[in-house]
Amino acid sequence: MVPANRTVHETPVTAARLDAESAEWLQTLAETCPQRDAALARLHEMLVRIARGEVARRGPRLRITGPELDDLAYQAAADALLAITGKIGQFRGESRFTTWAYKFVIFEVSAKIGRHFWRHPSVPLDAEDWDRLPDRFGFDPAQEAEWRDLLAALRRAVEEELTPRQRVVFVAIVLHDVPLDALVAELASSRNAIYKMLFDARRKLRVALAANGYLGNDTSRRS
């Protein structure tokens, strides 16, 4: 994984000329603009619409329904509005203003769904239910003789190769199916930090399993 503090050799971000609609948003949302309140109301209305669409899109996979889902959408829109007005000076016109604004409300929906997970937690974070591992990866119970050693080696590698923090993250996400954003909320961390821990854990475990002949030696995927 490319370290966050290293330059990525991809197309550099360049300031772009604003389209007319984005320019109007910036103009009317300026603190000195007499139409600012109307623009904020219009932006909020748009964010609510996007948030409701997003929770409806994700709804079938969530344990949240009805008024609670709608409430989550309204909270996400309100928090996104605050974030957008606070960061509007960072908008550089590389996309339409509305796309940039939508991003905030989508992120707020994700964060709120993550926090909601712990209202009805199904597992304590310190539990380690290794019996769930075969089912997690779809190993056929009828062929246990063929995969028993592999999973035992994986468990040993988790215990011996991972740091305590990597192990907590691996166990929560892999053994207990805790959503990554829920773990972010529980550990008061960031998505980037948790993902990086899991990324490093995956890499270490694969190296360990490959060294012992359980998996092939190719260490990167180029798909």
């Binding site: 990525v8 669409g53 994700r58």
Partner: protein, 73 residues
Amino acid sequence: MNGWSELDRFLQTDPRDVGCAQAMELLHIYAELVAAGALAEQRYPGIAAHLRACGPCGEDFEGLLAAVRGGAH
């Protein structure tokens, strides 16, 4: 054996993966490129690699793309 390949797939990591912070920072640009049919993956291979591997960022990308395309209307 499905389990072996599924476990192997999960443990594979892509060195181009830029991580969540950078992907989230540029997600609005990436989504507009995809919505416009431009070569987003070629322009931002590290973000493409990340979105393939990171469930939450992939989900956010799908949501943003749906919003840009008007699917949230």
